[in-house]
Amino acid sequence: AAQTPIKIMVGGIDKQIYLPAKLAAQLGFFKEQGLDVELFNSTSGSQAATALLAREVQGVVGFYDHTIDLQSKGKFITSVVQFAIAPGEVVLVKAADADKLKDPANWKGQALGVTGLGSATDFLTRALAAKAGLKMQDYTLVPVGAGDTFLASMQQGKIVSGMTTEPTVARAVKNGTAKVGIDLRTPESTRAALGGDYPAACLYMDRAWMEANKETAQKVVNAFVKTLKWMNTHSPEEIAAQMPKDYYAGELDLYVQGLREGKPQYSVDGMMPAGAPESVLSVLNSFSPNLKGKTIDLAKTYTTDFVVKANATN
C-alpha cells in the first residue's frame, strides 16, 4: 500500500542500544507491515526530540526519560514500545584505579565524563552520585561526547570515570584504558545501582499524533516487536550479520562481543516493565531541579496498548 513515509529519527543510528531500529529495516519488517519507514540519524538525542516536537518526524528512538523530562515542559510524548529494560550504559573507570572508582562514593572531587550535559548519561551519573550521597558540587561532569573523544579524554586523564555505551565500552576495555565500573546493561545490576528499574531505549511518539494515527502506530510497533522477538531467538553473530558493516568497521568480533554482553538489556516483547516508570521518575527526582514542583502524569508517558496487541498477533 502506497502511503506517505513514516519518518523515525534515531539519536545515533549506529549505537547498539538503538540497534532494533536499523535491524527492523534490514530484516524488512516494516515493508512486511506495508510501511514505508525512513530512518533519520542525528548525532544528538535532544536534537531528535526537538525534531519530533517540530513534527518533522513521527517517531524517535531515544531514552524513555525524555518523555518525563518533556512533560515537565508541557510537551506530551509517549513511549509506544520499549527496546530496552535497562539503560544499556556502562560506567567505565580508569583501569589503574578501577577498584576504588567502582564505588560512586569515591567520585568526590573527581571529573566524570558524560556524553553531553542534559543527556541520559548526565542524568544517570547524577542519579548514581546522588544515591551514593554525593551532592552536585562534590564532583564535576565533563561532556566529552562518545567515541574517540571519550577515549582520548580518559587517556589524557581529563576524566577518571565516565558513562558511555557500546561500542566505546568494548574499545576502552580492549585497549586497556578502562575497566567496567558499573554495568547498567542488565536489569538486575541497574536495580542494584539505582534502586529501581530504568528502562531506556524506546520508540516514542508525539501523543496527539499517535492518537490520531493509531493504525499506523500499531503497524510500527508490530514491526519492532517482531524485531525484538527475532533478536531474542538469534545469536549475536546472526544479529551482527544483518547490520551494515560500516557499523562495526571491520572489527566484527568486538561488535559481537558488545552485543553478547549487552543482550540482557533488550526487551523480549517490547513491554514497559511494571513499576518501571515510577522508578525512573523517582531517580530523576533525586537530582533534577527541572522536575521540582511539577506533577507528572506517568500514564501519559507510555502506553502498552500497541505492544499488547502486537504480541497477541505475532
Binding site: S46, G116, L117, P143, G145, D148, T149, A152, S153, Q156
Partner: protein, 284 residues
Amino acid sequence: MTETTVTAPLVTDGRIETAVQRMRRHQRLVLALRLAVLVFLIGGWEFGVRLGVIDPFFFGQPSGIVTKLIDWTENGTSIGPLWKQIWVTIYEAGAGFLIGSAMGILCGIALGRNQLLSDVFSIYIKVANSIPRVVLGSIFIVALGLGAASKIALAVVMVFFVVFANAFQGVREADKNLIANARILGASNWQMTRAVVLPSALSWILASLHVSFGFALVGAIVGEFLGAREGMGLLIATAQGSFDSNGVFAAMIVIAIVALLAEWILTMIENRLLTWRPDTTVNE
C-alpha cells in the same frame, strides 16, 4: 580683476556649521532606525509568542530570555558564574582569532608573493578548507585534549581560510605601477612586502577580519559543544540538552554582545590604520 586682500578662511561659516549639524542629525536618525528595527524584531517575536504564532518551546520568548539573563547574572549558571563562561569563550575565540589571522596573513602574503609556492600549496589549502569543522573538532580534541587548546585550534581553522583568501588576493591586486616604482627606488623583497604589498592588501585583510571574529566565536563554541568543562558553548549545549530555548537564545545574545564589542575595537584599529585614505563614504 582688482586684487582684494586674502581674507583668512572662515571655517565657522554657516555651511560648515550645517554640515556638522547634518551629521549629528544623521547619527540620530541612524540610531532611531536601528532601535526601530530592534523593537520591531523583538516586539514581533514576543507578540508572535503571545498570539501563539511562534512556539516558545522552540524559539524562546524575549521576556523569558531576559529573565534567564537576569537569573544567570544574579545566580550564575548551572556550570558556574556567567562572566567566567564569557571569559573562557572570549579567551578561546580571541586567541584563535589572533593566531588564525596572523597565520592567514602570513600565508596569504607568502603565497601571494611567490608564484611557485602558490602553485604548489594553494590546492592543499583549498582541500583543507573543505574539511568539515565538526570533524576537525573531534580530531583536535583527540590530539590537543579537552582544554582551551582544542577550541583555539578550531577557532584558528575557522578564521584562517577567510583571512588567507583575502590576504592572498589583496597581495595580488597590489598596483603593478607601485610595485615597479618601489623596485626601482631600491626596495628589497622584504621592503617591498612591508612598504607596498602590505599597505595595499590592508583593506582586503581588514575586510576579512571583520567577519573573522564572528567565525572565531563560532569555532570556539563548536569546540565547546564537542567537549568542554566551561564556556558559552557548553552553556548552549546544556540549554539545548534540557530543551531550554530561552537559555539558548540568552547565551546567543551574550555572544552577540561580545562580537559587537570586538567589532567596535576592530573598527577603531582600522580607522587608525587607514588614515591615509580618502573618505570611503559614498558621496556621489
